[in-house]
Amino acid sequence: MSDHILRIENVSKSFEGHQVFSNVSFAIEEGELSAIIGPNGAGKTTMFNLITGYHVPDSGRIIFQGRDIAGKQPFDIVRLGIARAFQRTNIFPRMTVIENIVTTLITKNRGNLNVVTPSKNLKQIRDRAYEILDSVGLSDKAHQLSGTLAHGNQKILDIAVALTLEPKLLMLDEPTAGMSPEERWKTIDLVKELWERIKITMVYIEHDMDIVFGISQKVRVLCYKTILAEGTPKEISANQQVIEAYLGEEV
């Protein structure tokens, strides 16, 4: 199937005898905005870690654009077009906001071996970095140390770093974790707006069902070591198995 950008085929993974996944299979369509939900400890982040090369599956294949990427190094997978933002903010804290983006752009353009030009003089790269910060609303904080940003802005910078790589598939691990309700919707509106504008495939993990059912085209429920159900928000919210296992009766 050529319209599947990513296919997970019979992936299993255990840690020290504890099985997290057994024969998980699912496929993500090109251009889709989808959510992965599931109870704590179901392995949502582990699934992200397997896809992005942080962990290697025990068995099974992970096919990205027709190529098996299971077991490849994270930096190779990034180069193939998968970028991620993290559940716990994961930026370069003692570098300024703009430097976070500049270093990512340098890496994306494979300019890391330049030992001559001061990185402050890379005009094109800096202009592009300002554009990116503008698009996520952080350009007024460009020269602040990124570690001193408010939590919500650090999460947005984390997403901006991933976006800078111009991935074909963007994976966001709880983009709204730890945010206040207003911040959550601001962030989610930004994510939705980015998805509509740059037309890439996005998968995100989220616990807030209002958000999940509000913006996703498709929802996958990870539970009992496998994909318990997948479908449109409407289908999932009506699925008896999912209600019993995760959502609870009142939904």
Partner: protein, 325 residues
Amino acid sequence: MDNTNRDRSSTQSAKWLGAALIAALFILPFVLSRMGTTGQYWIWVTTEMIIMGLFAMSLNLILGFGGMVSFGHAAFFGMGAYTVALLMKKAGAPLYLALPAAPVVAALTAAIIGWFCVRLIGLYFAILTLAFGQLLYMIVFQWYTFTGGDDGIHGIPRPEMLTPVNYYLLCLILFLICYFLMRMIVNSSFGLTIKTIRENMERSKFIGIHVRRYQWLNFIIAGAFAGLAGGLLTELNRFAQTDFLHWSRSAEPILASLVGGMFSLAGPAVGAAVLMFLKIVLQQAHRSLVELWAIILGLVLLAVVLFLPTGLVGLYEKIFSRSRS
């Protein structure tokens, strides 16, 4: 746009201070050479300070900028030292050929050792650098027929034109060239990549940086500069000996970086000079104080770690920007 006015004026005045310092360093040996034997002694000491400053700065590419603690940096210093010693004494090579060979041999050594070491992180990296360093030390120590073993290699020729003052000037010029090369590297895209890895190694991988490759290259660059320092010290002393490779020599640039400041380029060189100066002053004040050196050094380090985490250069920057604002 990148700098506020205050930052600009403080970098501006740092530049003036730097220029004044460089001018003073060029004038210094001519003043000292008029001061008899004490002057001669201090020319020798300041030359050694410059060399050890270069050695400390080279380590700091790994330590301060790369965020990796290496306990084996003396290996590259020693390889540079023995390269100069062997080429000049055994092969009869002139200094102008032997000296450039020092960083080349040191870089090759760093390439081999570093290839293994960057596969490990944190404490394991530190221990492996220590192990390789001591392995090289033992080889040089045992291989009597080639390296002279414990005796070292003595009587390295000194070109006639290299009077103490001229040799001081040669070391100073090479030091400055290395300083500006390192500054260029640190400020470049490569330097930013190294800092990025230091800040967050995991995240670096997820923006596509081949972390080990850049750590390895940085290790090689640092090794090359250390090799040049080793070569320069050999010619200053006119001998090379095994303690150039000993692990205690690897500790010196670490201490210098702590005292001077790991987060600036010149900090470790300042730290190296200050520590050497302190030791000599104590030595001249009273002989018994030298035996207390370890304790005094310990107290200095304790004070630095507790009260001056950014070192002397950090202190200078703090005082300066405060008086400005």
